[in-house]
Amino acid sequence: MLKYIARRLLLSIPVIIGITILSFIIMKLSPGDPLANFINPSISMEDLEISRQALGLNDPLFVQYFKWIGQVVRGNFGYTYSGNHSISGLILERLPNTIILTLSAFVLSFVLGIPIGVIAAVRKNTRVDYGLTFFSLVGVAIPSFFFGLLVIYFFALVLGLFPSGGMINIRAGYTGYAYFKDVLHHLILPAIVLSLGNIASVSRFTRSNMLDVLKEDYIRTAKAKGLRNKAIVYKHAFRNALIPVVTIFGLSIPFLFSGAYITESIFNWPGMGQLGITAIQNREYGIIMALNLITATLVLLGNLTSDILYAIVDPRIRH
């Protein structure tokens, strides 16, 4: 078991390095000179060259890469072109908000997706199954921004049940429990929008796994032993069907981070996604790369956790 984890960790080292190289390449390929934004017409070419030297922009690429990586390891992603804000500061400010949103969506996807899939599989070829399957397909097929807009339109604008955006009611200045309640109130719609696609894929995946497992020989054995349906479905089938579902824990993380871009921008949720969108509009490559790198690392960690979980739930791998 420990060996397995160690092996997985070892394998992710080249991947981490690859991620940083790819991030670096994308950054270097970005058009325009990072200094171009600051060009003061009064600065002479010589002075510009000096600052280039100072910034290390004339070094060979690999030297630049190692310098950059050295900074990144220390958590330093540089500064924005405009306003000279520390990028890590900006991101740290946003990171918790994104985590609140994605984590809620993550929990929702599995808390709702797994039971939906199980029910559909157990009630195979009934109306319940057809209904749930259709719902899942719509969930996978609907563009998330369109669903977001629909949700805002109906639940915020027409019915007025929830706020249409933001994370807190700034004017109210809540603290303590009231603050928590206010965030929750703002969180519900974006979390639903962000998780819908994931709920749908989780339930589809669970359903098909359940159906596969229900056809296994050991289910027949369980039936032959005269066990109750409940024991057959939950003890024998469900636990086996859950094993592959663990693998999509990891896969759903990039999915949710991608989705956060759109959800956050529609709902004005002050997270990394929204920061990213603004960065794109302002061509802040430093921010974009930092975001890429951070999310890629989070995703990698997610996949790793998911692999380890897999090994924990499946005795065949554990040994």
């Binding site: 020989d217 039936k223 032959a224 032993k225 109750r228 003890k235 636990r239 040994h319």
Partner: protein, 359 residues
């Protein structure tokens, strides 16, 4: 004895009451081309502490029969007629819950061909044995554990205290089959169905398992319905034999009679095609042709296109069952001479084993 349209009850007059009685059972399967009979109007009895072997080639309906008794047919299979009595109770009339509660695992248990896939990979073997005891005997976990451990000892598993905590993949094929058998016996059912329990095993392990089954039958006083394609195994283990072909019982009788004087041309052919250790011919006797697909069965007697003794009537209608000595045979050859007359195509003067369609 008068011919009947279905196979008669036990060929052996006996005052023992059968534990398991299958009467006129038919099973249909839905395929993409329509509904077809997998098993047609079969009847047989299984008596206390006897071993009844159902033997047949693929597509003969032998496994379907055992699954139908356990009500474990696949979704596209359906029992269309018949009765299955266990202790004088027609279990087809019971609700699913009643069958689960009072029949399966309690009065009748089943072991399967592939012990690897038939055991749940993520549950410890002990747990899988214990749950049956807890379900049917209301035992506590502690009691169940003790019983499970004891049963593992009974089936000859070395160091059961360790094995009980292991997962199926940690055991060898032979050990897994022993676990399956322990699982089937742990509630001391009166009937056990064994569906090709040794087919997936090596010869030396097969011998061990067959030996074990025979011993356990004595200890547990269990009757066994043994489903197999292997006539050698039948010779070793069975008291009575049912030979199936295309979903029908074509011959039935005590094992010694069937092996000594097989009556149905198919049974004769089947016994002759086995390569034997002391036969040194160059060419094996064979049955020509192939088993027809379930969707393309011929009219009349299903065997007639492959039969060397086929008569015009064989193509037209299905023969009735005739009693010849201890054997019941579904073949027109015995129409005139039913009841104990020996001049059918027996081994002596009929199409003897050695003569069946060489090459």
């Amino acid at each position: 004895m008068k011919p009947s349209n279905t196979t008669p009850g036990s060929p052996l007059p006996s005052n023992k009451k059968p534990l398991l009685q299958v009467k006129d059972l038919s099973v249909k399967f839905r395929t993409e081309e329509g509904m077809f009979f997998a098993v047609e109007h079969i009847s047989f009895d299984l008596e206390e502490q006897k071993t009844l072997a159902i033997v047949g080639e693929s597509g003969s309906g032998k496994s379907v029969t055992s699954l139908a008794i356990m009500q474990l047919l696949a979704e596209n299979g359906k029992i269309t007629s018949g009765e299955i009595f266990i202790d004088d109770e027609d279990i087809l009339k019971l609700s699913q819950r009643q069958v689960q509660h009072s029949i399966l695992g309690k009065k009748i248990s089943m072991i399967f061909q592939e012990p690897m896939t038939a055991l749940n990979p993520i549950l410890k073997v002990g747990e899988q044995i214990m749950e049956t005891i807890i379900e049917h005997q209301g035992a506590s976990r502690k009691e169940a554990y003790a019983i499970a451990l004891d049963t593992l000892k009974q089936v000859g598993i070395p160091s059961p205290e360790q094995r009980i905590k292991q997962y199926p993949h940690e055991l060898s094929g032979g050990m897994r089959q022993r676990v399956m058998i322990a699982m089937g016996l742990v509630t001391k059912p009166k009937i056990m169905i064994a569906d090709e329990p040794t087919t997936a095993l090596d010869v030396t392990i097969e011998a061990q398992i067959l030996n074990l089954l025979e011993n356990l039958k004595e200890t547990y006083k269990t009757a066994i319905l043994f489903v197999t394609h292997d006539l050698n195994v039948v010779a070793d283990i069975a008291d009575d034999v049912i030979v199936m072909y295309c979903g029908e019982i074509i011959e039935k009788g005590p094992v010694a009679d069937i092996f000594e004087t097989p009556r149905h041309p198919y049974t004769i052919g089947l016994l002759a095609t086995m390569p034997s250790l002391d036969n040194d011919n160059d060419i094996l006797p064979t049955i020509r042709g192939v088993v027809p697909n379930i969707t393309k069965r011929p009219t009349g007697c299903y065997f007639h296109p492959r039969c060397d003794h086929a008569m015009p009537q064989c193509a037209q209608r299905s023969p009735a069952v005739f009693q010849v000595g201890q054997q019941a045979v579904k073949c027109f050859l015995y129409e005139q001479d039913a009841l104990g007359v020996q001049d059918g195509p027996g081994v002596q003067d009929g199409p003897g084993a050695g003569e069946v369609n060489h090459g």
